[in-house]
Amino acid sequence: MMEAIKIGLEIHVAIPTKTKLFCSCNAYNEQEPNMSVCPICMGFPGSKPMLNAKALEIAKSVANALHSDIAKTISFERKVYFYPDLPKSFQITQLSNPISQGGFIELQSSKKIRIRRIQIEEDPAKILHEEDYSLIDFNRSGRPLLEIVTEPDIFNIDELKEFMNELKSILYYLGIDINTELKADVNVSNQGERVEVKNITGLKDMINAALFEIKRQEAARASGAIINKETRSYDGANMITVSMREKESDEEYGIIYEPDLGEYSIKNLPIIEPTYTNKIAKELAEKYSASEKLIIEQIMFDKNALQLINKFAGTYKINIVISAIEVLKRYNKTLDDEKFEALLIAISKNVLINSETINDIEQGKTIETSSEIDESLIDSAINSMLLENKQLLKDYVNNPKVFNFIIGQIAKKYNASPKYISTRLNILLPKFVAGK
């Protein structure tokens, strides 16, 4: 069956190197405009690009993680166009010998979204458009970018979201945070020609742009219009795409080989091993008979969580470990192994964890594991609540959801774990119901 909707992506992420792709300027100097510049990234006459090996290493690691065929030797091309943000009036990018070709990301359904190619290129400068003038900041000029191009294998928005989440997680574990530096071109065809939506920033806009395009093309077809090959841009404020130009043919960049860089062998560059969190979550869930979903939520974008689970899940129940990780996140804490273990013990023994106890743990104080005080406090709260509201008990008999109301009230009042209250309530409530 022909798929109605086909989505393909060209994703640009910044490669986190200290220096720029072709010079030794600081790549992420955000302080003062035009302070992190030199003759190379400003394109001054006589300057030549010098390739940053660290950027190659990271790009190679991404290619490896996406099962892409890594090239033995790579080379670069000049893509020529005139725009004030491009100091040399050409961008050094890759065409014929990119870092890698092929590859895939596997979704939960085992469907593989194929990768077409992965390449590195330099970022242009940043243009700040003011009302009647524009400013150029060359700090960004020459930052290393990674471009990941997929085949049009994404058939709906859910797949788009899952693909992007998975990609983000893989990149995150390789040290690339794409929350801040994600730019994409999204190609959407809905039973017609391919429409390219260019220069979208961020995942949310990617999804919105794809959604809009699917609906727009659907509506256009319904009204009898023909969808032509076209380039559009995304207007984030109004959440719509706007036509830039109808494509008769591909754009003319007059691309030639970059003679200043020659060919590089990347065979011997080291790689960072990939981490596939969905695979790991599945294995952990099976091993400890826990919820895969619960695990993946913890570890997808949290290396620390994964480390803690790997270290403590055998000794402690995985749910306890996850609860402890949630505590760390809730109170924004990091604990060394010894203190984390104290937290695990506290949770195992039903100690009420609030900002006070977590601070005690952080400071290495012994936690009173005889948690009578807390227990009695919660117990008496439950008791008094039930005594004062006879109606609640009546309601409970007819409607067990009342249970949640009680938990909510007490949890709020005493800043206590709903799980714990629920355990106590389970013990106390039958007595009341019985003694009514």
């Binding site: 003759p39 001054f44 006459p45 030549k48 009036s89 003319e252 003679p259």
Partner: protein, 455 residues
Amino acid sequence: MNSIEEFYSLEKKSGYAESLFNDLSDINSRLNAFLNITRISGQNYPFSVKDNICVKNVETTANSKILKSYLPPFNATVVERMLSKNFDFIGKTNMDEFGFGTFGLNSERTPRNPFNEDYVAGGSSSGAAIATAVLKYHIAIAESTGGSISAPSAFCGVVGFTPTYGAVSRHGLIDYANSLDKIGLMSRSAKDIRYVFDIIKGPDNYDSTCIDIEKRKMQSDEGKGAKNTIFIINQINDLLDESVKSHFSGLVSKLENMGFAIKTIDFNLLDKAIPTYYIISMAEASTNLARYTGFKYGLKNNEFSKDYNSFFTESRSNFGTEAKRRIILGTFVRGASVKSKYYSKALKVRGLLIAKMKEILRQGFILSPTMPIMTPKIDDANSLTPVQNYGLDILTIPPNLSGFPHVSFPYDYDKGLPMGAQLISDHFEDYSLLDFVENWENSFKYQFKYNLGSI
């Protein structure tokens, strides 16, 4: 003793530097060797720099209006290395705009031949060759893309040495065609060139195509060419002027008498060298010249109210005619619809040319006249069509296109004008060329009309 050692061994009279400056300025107003002359102390050996090589805070324009008053913020590596050895920078030499020319005539200040001012000095490193021919103690840092060192060296009667591609760092060289550009030297003797080449060659952190030729020579089995065998390519016969032919056959006999084995060989691809060279060099040049848009350096366009396209177009109208021609042709040959017919094909032919020449150079040198014609008068050269003009590069283009080291040396004089021959060797065999010319200089004395700065 080379002339550098000689210079330091001699006692300079007081006022030496002053009179050198005055004499040079005076002669420069007629010959146009220099675009600017720097006063030097007279204590150190002077070197000149072709205007497409950056000297920190000295106007460097590649002789183009579009870079007018550009002061580079850094020294080219070659300049840095010369200064570190206490050579004194004496000035920027005249050239065809961006290196685009065979005769030096794409310059607003016409360079003239020091042996006869009605004749061309050759290009594009015109000023470097003139300066070498008029100054007794001096070495010129020049640059060749397709013959820009050989051609003017031949017409001005000096030794012009173009090293293996990559032997000298291009950092600070204003690009014409990056895969072809080579910094080289001009001097009055091979000994001087050897001395300075030792200083400027070798890897550089600012040019990733720069290599260590000695290391490469040891690593590979390349450059084992027989040192006493010289090949003459059969196909050049039909290209030479009658009088070039007769002078050149005199040279061949002399070399035979000196003990060289002279052999003839076919090189059928020779006629493909010119289109291949011009396609690749113009394609690269058109991308290199894209950066000159009139708002970061050089000639500034202050019409900021214009839209980008009009702004760029207006700024870029300041290129000279030949630069414009090469931008247009270069942009055409890399266009998506014709790229496979021109640019990509030229890259393939270049590969074939390199392989074929290498086959020959493994067995010996290749020798030819440097130019197929006698030195033309300026007026005659000016009336050539671009295609006729490009055709005259037929003998200098093959080694340039293939990155083989080559040297042009004076071997005869005709009506007072010098004639040059060009010797090519295998990659990394740069020093065999200098050995050869040193040997030649033992039996042939170069003539000069001027010897400014004699002590």
